[in-house]
C-alpha cells in the first residue's frame, strides 16, 4: 500500500499558528460591520478602522455595498447558504446580499456548504452561462516554432484562453507573438496572455502583444502583499491601466499562499482568501483566478483543503466575478486524487474549468506540471462524454492538427524573417511540427528567441507590425484574426465580466451570455452541435466500423457443402460454429483468426486420434445450443461450440443446453494453445478418457471495459445471420 502514488503527497497535521488550516481558524475574526454616524465603516470583522491594514482599508473604502450591509450581516449563515443552493432564490438575490458581506461573514457562511452544495452553488452562481477552459502553452527553450504549433493545437482542442510564460524573462515578447500567431492559426478569438512580472506584462499588453492578463497577484495578509512589492492601490491602478488600453484582465490569488510565505497570521486559508476575493471586487477586477493555484498542494495537505479550494471559486462567483477555477498546478502524484480534486468543478461548470490545462508535455510546462496535461486530454474528453458535461474541450482531428501545426510554424517563420527577428532552418520547422515536446526539437537554439525578443523590445515592434508581416507573407486569415482581436479593444465589450470570444468572434460574458440557471431544466445545456462534439471522441466505434475491421481479415477458406448429417464414427467430434463465423466474423476478440482457432481445435482432436468435422449452426447464436447441436450430430456424442468472438465449450449430446463439460468464457484471453487444449480435451471426452480441464486465463485488466462494446457489435452481427431455414450446414475448411 505504501507504494501507491498518493503516499508521495505530503499531508500536514492541522496547525492554525502556521496557517495550515482550511476553514475557521481560532484566530479568524468574528464577522462584524459597524457604520459610524457619517455612514463610513468604523469596524469590520472585529477590527477598528484605526487598526485596518491596507487590505481592510481598501475593502472598507471600496468593496462593500453599504446599502445592504445591515441586512446582509444580520442574516444567519445558514439562512444565507440555503439561499445559495435554493433554485427558487435567484442568482441576483444571492449576489445582492453577498455584496454586503464582509470577508469573515462570507467565509464563515460558505465554509458550511457540503461538496455537492458547492457544486449546486457553482452551477447557479457562475457569471457566464457557457463553460470554458484555459491552456498553458510553454516550453523549456521558448522555441517560437514549437510554441506556435502547440498554441494552434490547443485552439483546435477548444481552449479559449492560452497562457504562456517564460523560463527566461527576456524571451517574453517573442513568446507572446509566437503563441498569438499559433492561436490565430487554430481558431478565431482565442485570448492570449504571457505571465511575467506585472510591469512587463502591462507593457506587452499596451503594445498589443497579448490580449489579456491574469498574473496580477493578490494576497490575504499585508505582509505578504507588500513582500510581493504591491499594495491594493498599486493593484487598483494596474487594473485600471489594463482597462484604459481595452485589455481584459483578472487577478490571481489562492488559499495557502500566505502560509507558504510564512505570514498567515494564524488565519485559515479560506478567510485569507475571502479577503483577496473581496479586494478583487473592490479594486474593480472583473475576475479572479483562484483555487489554490501555486499553493493548491498546501491547501490539499490539510483536512478539508480540497473542499476549500472549490469553496474559494464559489466565493468568487458569489462576488459577481469571473471565476477561473484553478486545477492548474499539479496538487497530487495520484491520478485518483487529482481527478477527485477536479471532477466536482467539471460537473458543476465554471467560467474556466482549469486556469491552465497543460496542453503540452509535463516537462515543457514552465509553470510546473499541471493538474491536467497533454497526456490527459483523452481522459478529460472521455469524462466530459461520460457525464454529458461541457468542460470546454473537443476532439481535434489528427490530420487537421498536423496541418494547423505546419501552418503555425510556417507563419511564425515568415513573420520572424519579415521582421528581421530570426531565420529558422527547415529541420527546425519539421521537428517542431512533429514534436510532442521540446525534447523532440534538437535543432532549437536558445539564443534565437532571446535575440528576437530583444529586437522586439528595442525597435518597439507592436502587434500591428505582426499583422502587417502576416499579411505581406500571405497569412491573410491570421492577419485578419489578430487585427480583429486588436479592434476588440476599441469596442471594450470583452472588458465585461467573464468575457471570452466564441469561434464566430461573438463576446460571451455576464452581459451577453448570462448564467440563467434556476433549477433543473434551466441554465446551460450544450447545443446539439456542441453535444455531438462532446460525444464524438475519436475512440468510439459503430457496428459498421467493427464489421469493416472484421472484413479486413476475410478468408476464402470456408465452403458450405450442404446440410450436415449425423455421423456414426465413434472417434468423430463435431465442431459447431456460430452463424457469422466465416461469413462476417473472421477474427475473435483475442485477435486469433477463426481459421487458426479451428486449426488448433482440429489439431488437438487429431492428437487424441479423433476426427474433427466442422458445421455451422445457423439456427441460434446461443453457444450452449450450438455446442449441443454439434454434439447431437457427432458420432462420439461429443461436440465443440465456437462463437465468432472466440468463446468456446465442449458439449455432450445427452446434457441440457446450459450444462456443458468445459467452457472457455474469457474470449479476449484465449490464445491458440488454449484452443489446442480444448481440442485435446474434447478428444479425450470422446474416448472416455479423463481430460485435464483448462484453467481459464486470469487477467487484472479491465477486460470488460475493453471488449464489451465489441461483444455487443459482434453479437448483433451474429443475430442478423441467424436463419432457422438454413439449418446446420456442413463446412469444408481449407486450412
Amino acid at each position: 500500500m505504501n507504494a501507491q502514488s498518493v503516499n508521495l503527497d505530503g499531508f500536514a497535521i492541522e496547525d492554525s499558528d502556521l496557517g495550515l488550516i482550511a476553514f475557521n481558524s481560532p484566530a479568524d475574526p468574528e464577522p462584524s460591520l459597524v457604520l459610524g454616524s457619517d455612514g463610513k465603516i468604523i469596524e469590520m470583522d472585529s477590527r477598528a478602522a484605526a487598526d485596518f491594514d491596507v487590505i481592510d482599508e481598501f475593502i472598507a473604502r471600496h468593496g462593500l455595498d453599504l446599502s445592504v450591509v445591515a441586512e446582509a450581516m444580520a442574516l444567519s449563515d445558514l439562512a444565507f447558504i440555503r439561499m445559495v443552493v435554493d433554485p427558487n432564490v435567484s442568482r441576483a438575490e444571492v449576489l445582492r446580499l453577498a455584496a454586503g458581506m464582509t470577508p469573515a461573514k462570507l467565509a464563515r457562511s460558505l465554509s458550511r456548504l457540503r461538496p455537492i452544495e458547492l457544486g449546486m452553488a457553482m452551477t447557479k452562481l457562475r457569471a457566464r452561462r457557457t463553460p470554458s477552459n484555459q491552456a498553458h502553452v510553454t516550453n523549456r527553450s521558448d522555441d517560437p516554432l514549437l510554441l506556435a504549433a502547440d498554441a494552434a493545437t490547443a485552439a483546435a482542442f477548444g481552449f479559449r484562453e492560452i497562457e504562456t510564460t517564460v523560463p527566461v524573462l527576456g524571451d517574453a515578447p517573442s513568446n507572446a507573438i509566437a503563441v498569438s500567431i499559433g492561436a490565430a492559426v487554430g481558431s478565431r478569438g482565442v485570448l492570449v496572455q504571457c505571465s511575467v512580472e506585472e510591469a512587463l506584462e502591462l507593457e506587452m499588453g499596451m503594445r498589443g502583444l497579448v490580449s489579456y492578463a491574469e498574473t496580477i497577484s493578490l494576497y490575504g495578509t499585508e505582509q505578504v502583499f507588500v513582500d510581493g512589492d504591491d499594495t491594493p492601490w498599486s493593484k487598483a491602478l494596474l487594473t485600471s491601466a489594463y482597462a484604459s488600453r481595452g485589455i481584459k484582465m483578472r487577478v490571481t490569488s489562492g488559499g495557502g499562499s500566505e502560509a507558504l510565505m510564512g505570514a498567515a497570521e494564524g488565519r485559515s486559508m479560506f478567510y485569507l482568501e475571502a479577503r483577496c476575493v473581496a479586494l478583487a471586487r473592490a479594486i474593480g477586477s472583473q475576475g479572479v483566478q483562484n483555487g489554490g493555484i501555486d499553493s493548491a498542494a498546501v491547501a490539499g495537505s490539510v483536512p478539508g483543503g480540497v473542499r476549500s479550494l472549490m469553496a474559494e471559486n464559489v466565493m468568487v462567483m458569489a462576488r459577481n466575478l469571473e471565476a477561473c477555477t484553478g486545477n492548474d498546478a499539479l496538487m497530487s502524484e495520484s491520478d485518483v486524487r487529482r481527478t477527485s480534486r477536479t471532477l466536482p468543478i467539471l460537473l458543476a461548470g465554471s467560467d474556466f474549468i482549469t486556469s491552465g490545462f497543460g496542453s503540452i508535455q509535463r516537462y515543457d510546462n514552465m509553470f510546473g506540471p499541471s493538474q491536467w496535461n497533454a497526456e490527459d486530454i483523452d481522459d478529460f474528453l472521455v469524462i466530459q462524454r461520460d457525464w454529458g458535461v461541457d468542460g470546454g474541450l473537443r476532439t481535434a482531428d489528427e490530420r487537421n492538427v498536423a496541418a494547423l501545426r505546419r501552418r503555425a510554424t510556417d507563419a511564425v517563420r515568415a513573420v520572424y524573417r519579415q521582421l528581421g527577428l530570426a531565420d529558422f532552418t527547415d529541420e527546425w520547422v519539421e521537428q517542431a511540427i512533429d514534436a510532442a515536446g521540446s525534447k523532440d526539437v534538437p535543432e532549437s537554439d536558445l539564443l534565437t528567441p532571446l535575440v528576437a525578443a530583444r529586437i522586439i523590445r528595442e525597435t518597439g515592434i507592436t502587434m500591428l507590425d505582426v499583422v502587417r508581416a502576416l499579411y505581406e507573407t500571405g497569412f491573410e486569415i491570421e492577419a485578419t484574426r489578430i487585427l480583429e482581436m486588436l479592434k476588440a479593444r476599441v469596442a471594450g465589450d470583452y472588458l465585461q465580466t467573464a468575457a471570452i470570444f466564441d469561434e464566430a468572434f461573438n463576446v460571451l460574458s455576464l452581459v451577453t451570455d448570462p448564467n440563467d440557471y434556476a433549477g433543473p431544466g434551466s441554465g446551460y445545456f450544450p447545443s446539439a452541435d456542441r453535444q455531438i462534439e462532446i460525444d464524438a471522441i475519436r475512440q468510439q466505434k459503430s457496428v459498421a466500423d467493427l464489421r469493416a475491421e472484421q472484413a479486413e481479415h476475410k478468408s476464402v477458406a470456408f465452403h458450405s457443402v450442404g446440410q450436415a448429417a449425423v455421423g456414426n464414427d465413434p472417434r468423430e467430434v463435431v465442431i459447431g460454429v456460430s452463424p457469422a463465423v466465416g461469413r462476417d466474423i473472421w477474427r475473435t476478440l483475442s485477435g486469433v483468426s477463426v481459421i487458426d482457432a479451428l486449426r488448433e481445435l482440429l489439431a488437438g482432436l487429431e492428437e487424441e486420434g479423433c476426427i474433427g468435422r466442422v458445421v455451422r449452426v445457423n439456427t441460434t447464436l446461443d453457444l450452449g445450443m450450438i455446442g449441443l447441436s454439434a454434439a447431437r450430430l457427432s458420432g462420439s456424442g461429443i461436440g465443440i461450440g465456437l462463437q465468432g468472438k472466440g468463446t468456446a465449450l465442449i458439449h455432450r449430446r445427452d446434457l441440457s443446453p446450459l450444462a456443458n463439460l468445459e467452457l472457455y468464457s474469457v474470449a479476449p484471453s484465449l490464445d491458440t494453445s488454449l484452443y489446442r487444449l480444448l481440442g485435446i480435451n474434447a478428444g479425450r471426452h470422446a474416448k472416455g478418457a479423463t481430460p485435464e480441464p483448462a484453467r481459464n486465463p486470469y487477467s487484472d485488466e479491465a477486460i470488460e471495459a475493453r471488449y464489451h462494446t465489441k461483444v455487443v457489435a459482434l453479437v448483433d452481427i451474429e443475430r442478423q445471420l441467424v436463419d432457422s431455414e438454413l439449418g446446420i450446414e456442413e463446412l469444408r475448411i481449407q486450412l
Binding site: 502591462l202 507593457e203 498589443g208 492601490w233 491602478l237 484604459s244 479594486i283 474593480g284 485578419t480 455576464l510
Partner: protein, 120 residues
C-alpha cells in the same frame, strides 16, 4: 460610439490594407474614454459598481501615455513615494482632469503613512 478608437478614428478605416500602408497606430486601436464610460454604465446595470469605477478611472488614463501610466503604477508600489510625492501627483492628475485616479493617490498617501509604506 464603440467603433471609434482613442485617436478618434473609426474602426471601419482600420483595414489590413491600411495596416500595410503604415496608416494605423496603436492609438487607433485604443479604447475611447466615452466607450469606457458606456462600459461603466453596463457594469453598473450588472450589479458591479466597483467594475464601473475601474472603467471610469481607466477612462481618465486613456489620456496618458504608456510611459506615464507605467510611472503611476510604479509610484504606488510600496516604499516608492513620499506622502508629498503622492499628493503632488494627485494634484497634477486633478489638473489634467483625472480626478478619480487622483483620489486613489490621495487615499494611498493617507493609508501608506499610517501603515509605513511611504518612502523615507
Amino acid at each position: 460610439m464603440s467603433r471609434v478608437g482613442a485617436s478618434g478614428r473609426d474602426l471601419s478605416e482600420v483595414t489590413l490594407e491600411a495596416v500595410q500602408e503604415n496608416e494605423v497606430s496603436m492609438a487607433d486601436l485604443s479604447i475611447h474614454p466615452d466607450t469606457l464610460e458606456h462600459q461603466a454604465n453596463v457594469a453598473e446595470t450588472h450589479s458591479n459598481p466597483q467594475l464601473a469605477a475601474n472603467f471610469r478611472r481607466a477612462a481618465e488614463l486613456t489620456a496618458l501615455s504608456d510611459e506615464e501610466v507605467l510611472a503611476l503604477y510604479e509610484a504606488l508600489r510600496p516604499h516608492r513615494s513620499t506622502g508629498e510625492e503622492l499628493n503632488s501627483t494627485a494634484r497634477s492628475l486633478e489638473d489634467r482632469g483625472a480626478v478619480l485616479v487622483a483620489a486613489l493617490f490621495r487615499e494611498a498617501a493617507e493609508v501608506y503613512a499610517r501603515r509605513g509604506l511611504l518612502r523615507h
